[in-house]
Subunit: 217 residues, 2 copies
Amino acid sequence: MPELFPATDRTRVVREANRAVYDRDAIYGILDEGFVCHVGFAVEGQPFVIPTMYARVGDWLYFHGSAASRMLRGASSGTPVCITVTLLDGLVLARSVFNHSMNYRSVVALGKAVVIDDAGEKLAALEAFTEKLIPGRWNDARQPNEKELKATSILKLPLTEVSAKVRTGDVEDDAEDYALHVWAGVIPLRLVVDAPNRDARCDASIPTPAYAVNYKR
Amino acid sequence: MPELFPATDRTRVVREANRAVYDRDAIYGILDEGFVCHVGFAVEGQPFVIPTMYARVGDWLYFHGSAASRMLRGASSGTPVCITVTLLDGLVLARSVFNHSMNYRSVVALGKAVVIDDAGEKLAALEAFTEKLIPGRWNDARQPNEKELKATSILKLPLTEVSAKVRTGDVEDDAEDYALHVWAGVIPLRLVVDAPNRDARCDASIPTPAYAVNYKR
């Protein structure tokens, strides 16, 4: 049996409920494929949404605090955030404008984010960010020193209140629209990687690592 | 002289301020290239961040209300939102983990969103969404009827409090790290489009339109 996240009043997908996904493995698969999330937090009633890097470690989502940390640090017991990860898979061109859509996979995680103070936990999170982004890089690059760790702001969110919304597959038109003489179909979208560009100051004797040459997302 | 958005306390880029962009044309260029935004709004102190389609029309950002509309409709004078658009351009592999980064372009727009009730304005917004997504499609597809317009929720945000953050170009390492024997460089990322897949129920006599065959982002 798949393990499901409980659908709370805040995470239950109401609109297009057939696209709802609560299965933990499916949701973790989406989180592990993406590498940039959008973090939402509110300051005096004004929401802010900031893109940042993240990595899942077990049932926690670690994310770079950068822009948000100043505002989030106030709440030592955690401040309410929403972390959303969206992957775009295609444009769905239906016969009617109304049924135009996108194929996508999107995860929404709610809860209270906590600022990480422990240097060891910070280091582990940075390793997870780096290895998520490009596996193999952590051991090649110079790892963070104490001063850099202090200057890095990382937060974590427990993955307890989470849901996903996923649309896949073909066009869905209203029954009477299938007779229309209108082309319909799906245009797939993909994030691709081009050949790595060596830094101008990187000595030509240093081989481009296989993880950069063969990098795929 | 470029026309600049005023940097308010809420939109001024504080961290990595050298990446800040307030130039209106540059910001509108980013908004016009993207097609999915993340909308942030708060309900009883809990922020929500939802991906949705949008289009800029003049100095307004129109966005699909879908998931958000139920919650936003309460405030007839507008409810505070943050709309963020992020384009990913590359992974920056520095010699040190600390200087790893991404090349990206991100716009943050703050303000009060208003639900659109006027059918004509809704129709114009849907045309803008469709033509932004895939120019030429609006005139081919069956356009929305009155019932569909009523069932569609669209909001708009005035583009008055807006800033962008942009990182481009090469690796930037600390001076002493350039001597390290570590490969450094940038791996470009791009969203690409694969060949369109005709809907199984789309008659083969209907030619695939040029805008689908030649579609690029």
